[in-house]
Symmetry: C2
Subunit: 514 residues, 2 copies
Amino acid sequence: MAKPWATFGVDLHLEPTGPGIRRGLTDALREAVRTGRLAPGTRLPSSRTLAADQGVARNTVADAYADLVAEGWLTARQGSGTRVAMGIAPARVSPTGVSPARATPTGAGAARAAPTGAGPARVSPAPAGRRAGTGAPPTGTSPAPPPPPRPREPAHPTHNLIPGTPDLGSFPRTEWLKAARRALATAPYQALDYGDPRGRIELRTALAGYLSRARGVRADPDRILVCAGFSHGLRLLGAVLRARGARTVAVESYGLDVHWNLLAAAGLRTAPLPFDDRGTDPGELTGQGAVLLTPGHQFPMGGTLHRDRRAAVVDWARRTGGLVVEDDYDGEFRYDRQPVGALQGLDPDHVVYAGTASKSLAPGLRLGWLVLPPDLMEPVLAAKGHADTCGSLDQLTLAEFLTSGAYDRHVRAARLRYRRRRDALVAELARRAPRVHATGIAAGLHVVLRLPAGTEPAVLRAAAWQRLAVHALDRYQHPQAAVERRDALVVGYGTPPDHAWSGALEALCAVLPE
Amino acid sequence: MAKPWATFGVDLHLEPTGPGIRRGLTDALREAVRTGRLAPGTRLPSSRTLAADQGVARNTVADAYADLVAEGWLTARQGSGTRVAMGIAPARVSPTGVSPARATPTGAGAARAAPTGAGPARVSPAPAGRRAGTGAPPTGTSPAPPPPPRPREPAHPTHNLIPGTPDLGSFPRTEWLKAARRALATAPYQALDYGDPRGRIELRTALAGYLSRARGVRADPDRILVCAGFSHGLRLLGAVLRARGARTVAVESYGLDVHWNLLAAAGLRTAPLPFDDRGTDPGELTGQGAVLLTPGHQFPMGGTLHRDRRAAVVDWARRTGGLVVEDDYDGEFRYDRQPVGALQGLDPDHVVYAGTASKSLAPGLRLGWLVLPPDLMEPVLAAKGHADTCGSLDQLTLAEFLTSGAYDRHVRAARLRYRRRRDALVAELARRAPRVHATGIAAGLHVVLRLPAGTEPAVLRAAAWQRLAVHALDRYQHPQAAVERRDALVVGYGTPPDHAWSGALEALCAVLPE
């Protein structure tokens, strides 16, 4: 162990070459800065750390740093250490995503100065794909350098009523962290290892209890597969169905194109079932291998599948050996009565129950779950592979969140919030747009608004003008669906954070026909 | 909104039927307990909550609860509320994974009593697939009911020296939670939404900075894809290579069968390259579309790819348009000198750099990253789909962990710990098993031990006898590899937690030939 690493400081990869230790180190550092490998603002290891790591004398590193400060590549300031100077134009593409900016001489005082527009790079670009030797130091005399790079966020509309996302501003951050702390405090160290590809047993046990209690699901931890949200689960089911010889999956006339596309990518055709006032009509189910349904709260139309039709779907599955995939995306949110129990409870051997934390907590968690018929676990696991499991820590945290009762408390608070929003929306419609009708049951995070015939295009134009993001219903209509086109909007009243809700409601009312 | 949900308490799904409100509620509750949908020990909502949820008078619920306590299905105790009695044998499969146990009458005092073996169920099983009406109450008189179900853990060997896992007992739980708190405190609410399928920009930015600084990778956040560990990344690359017409991927003579199997599942043959004292010989690279390498630290043999061969690999890629996949699984852990820089730094347009948190932190995080040539991002994203992204919170936490310097501190502490283990192992070998030789560079979390010819079978038998988990080298040898079979072990000295390390070392020395 000739030159052990120091156990303090940060790591810095350097490959000094050429004659002379100081010269080699200086050249390697300069090249790392010049080519952009070390981004502007990066803090370098202390001379003590780098000396230990490189196996050289501390003074050698201090001298190399001093040379590069003098040349303008680095800055040194009492208390904040040695950093790469701001405003260095990288020789090639910048590793931090900022566009090449004007190079500047950087004394200590010039670092982190006010932002400015980008100018032409003064440092001559090196040929792509190889590193040049030492380059010219940055010696321009232009004004202040640009600020350090910031993570980019996509542009957001002023008002967002796109359905599919809960109020992320109300994510229970404090409670979630508490659950994470308790989960990490009690988890055995093996919980951090490669785990059961079905998901952590703690989470599957907690889900089995919750889904049985709250949704009437027949759940056993051994039949639960934790997945990265419903889309991931559907992709796996699609692969299994296709491998079993299915060619077509029956779907509803209304739904999400991402789901149809996922099935198509698995080689499955989607065939829409008829739709009427009692919801999706399963009468045409025949030889399809599977049907994808939202029986608790049709997305986006908002009804519940009629009792007789629930029975007919299960009957079809038993008769033909077909599979029912129940997408229970927002089963937690019914406002006027207890929600209808899961269809899966009628026949757990023919129905896959699919749930998600994306609506009740946040899509960013990427946590969903399938409750599978016994014969499906093995092929679904094979399709999933051991590779793309969800992170243990989030799984343990959600398990703790469920068993501690924090999930129920959060869902009940959210239910009240969304119910108030829905009530406010319905009341405002009655007052300001009496020709617009909210349809569907009092549930979920979205509502379909029927518009007077012929008014939809004007409403959409006005919404775009107001920077109000809202979708027309026909975006959710299956291309082959034999349903009448209707003038209607799908309004995701759950999407805005609380502070933005009243503004979004006002913007919506302003674009609706009086 | 006739019967709004209460905003307190827990959710309980019930579907009362039949004449009479109290009778219907009692029947529905009894059935939920009897069929096992409500597991023994489950706490029921307060009568106030359930009354509000069901839209009935509170006394009705209280009466129903009292009936079921009298029948033995429920227990009521001051301060702990109403619960499902312990020891109820579910009519069908139990939703909590415990085997059916003897049913018991349960006064308040009988709940949560001492564990006992399971007896035959006294409650007659209902036909599978449908719920029967009211069943017989539990009236057995057997001893104490079984304890509440516990999550199951797989059995572990007494000593574990299987390579591939870091010391999970040293996972920096406190520092990780601190980073999670800071990340959640500062993240915009949009960070909890469906996100960029490449991964959170905060993490990609942090990784670009870290990989450039510490591993010499040419990294740009726009070229980084966050994935669920290396296997997930390799599965995506395999799919892309196959779609581009590749038939064969060159691999090393030694490696992991899970990787070969992942490529095979993508329809790709793996062809091993020759291996000699200078490592993998790329001289036979010709028309293969890609090569998978561990150039920094060959797994498991432990050498670094010779400088001339690094150049030859890159040269092959440029000449033929082939792709190099660099698996840098443990690049953080070199003990005697700075690690060799990433091969990717030589040609970021032909080399995919793949890194992971599985060795530096924990596999349970399921976080890895690919740094992709520009033309590969789009097809890899298409193969990945938007569905199976990693959780935002872990990504934000790792970004904070990296930028705060906690990652460097943790890696440096871990490096010291593993280096000491390796030194102790080498010293003990010299003292107690001088005919056994540790090979490879001083790096990583594992070492190959060359055994005297012919001794391997006896060593493995002795290890099994000691309940010492350790692998022979030939498990890591590609079936088509043209290499001599050697008597050797692959020892994962990083695997045991600190408290178990000296015992594992002792057990290892005890089975080695003197």
